[in-house]
Symmetry: C3
Subunit: 133 residues, 3 copies
């Protein structure tokens, strides 16, 4: 069954750890083994797996994405001023798929699931779909 | 069941909206709820989710990918002259996975599925596989 | 069933073809048709699909990732000196999903599955999960 989380964001650009909320949906589902799809239904936000031990890692990822696709670039054509957010979304991707075993996410020791806001603050959605193995 | 779409491309680099064709395969399948894998069996093409309302968004994504991995770079070793296309494919990715509910793609308001040609024009393939939820 | 491959790496940065090992697990599973998730449980490694015919392609991908996210950058905050590896992992992604038909990976002619080491050498893991279609 498709479930949807609401993810409020507070800054234009930030990465929000949604691991515990996804794990909660996995635990409540009837799929014990398989995987879970986390899908972002937006074109100026994305999702990625990253380290959650040192917050500097997330800061460095956001810094580099901004360096690669700066907010302002005279060659952007799109009139809404958020072309950088669209580009970052395609670089990072709009979904992650994580294995599930015994109703638990099979994440590495340092891994967390991060919702990536690139054009906030907004109220965002995250779709979560379990797939049996 | 695995189905394959043929995607003809007309330029060296372009993004082609394949949403309606994928939706057609989803509607004709016997999977009502789950997700659909769209897989590109090429190494100089990719696939991404992006906005379909303003074509300038796609133009900006292609512009930035070219800025990050220009077609010509004296440090490329590969002799075929399409190293940029291989790099863009790994940055964007070779598949997207989209939730399906009631035999419909669960896309956000502005989302479309774009086949990304990085070394055309060619006749390309796109594999589509339904997965039950 | 979730299976785990051990992937030893020999350099700080390299791409290792794991296609045959994944194919072996697919052949030994009871899923004939569907797809296979290859998931990297690390935050300084990734996985991608690329060409395996000319090793220069992989060299060019690694060269460009290093150009986009150099190992040394005075603006990185993370103290371990491997921010570039984290960034590359988020750009390339931590999983690939490949269709399976008749117990065989449905890869394009030139495609191979590459484990991407960005902060080696280490002993790495790769989770492999079959999903029925």
């Amino acid at each position: 069954m498709l479930r949807t989380l609401t993810v409020p964001t507070a800054k234009r650009t930030e990465m929000i750890d949604v691991t515990d909320r996804v794990q909660g949906l996995v635990r409540d589902s009837n799929v014990r083994d398989g995987c879970v799809l986390c899908y972002v239904p937006h074109t100026t936000a994305g999702i990625t797996i990253q380290e959650n031990a040192d917050p500097d890692v997330v800061a460095d990822v956001l810094y580099k994405l901004e360096a690669l696709a700066p907010r302002s670039d005279p060659r952007y054509r799109h009139g809404e001023g958020n072309s950088d957010a669209h580009i970052k979304a395609s670089l990072v991707g709009s979904s992650v798929l994580v294995p599930v075993r015994d109703s638990s996410l099979v994440l590495g020791t340092w891994q967390a699931i991060y919702f990536c806001e690139f054009d906030g603050p907004r109220s965002r959605s995250l779709h979560v779909q379990l797939l049996a193995g």
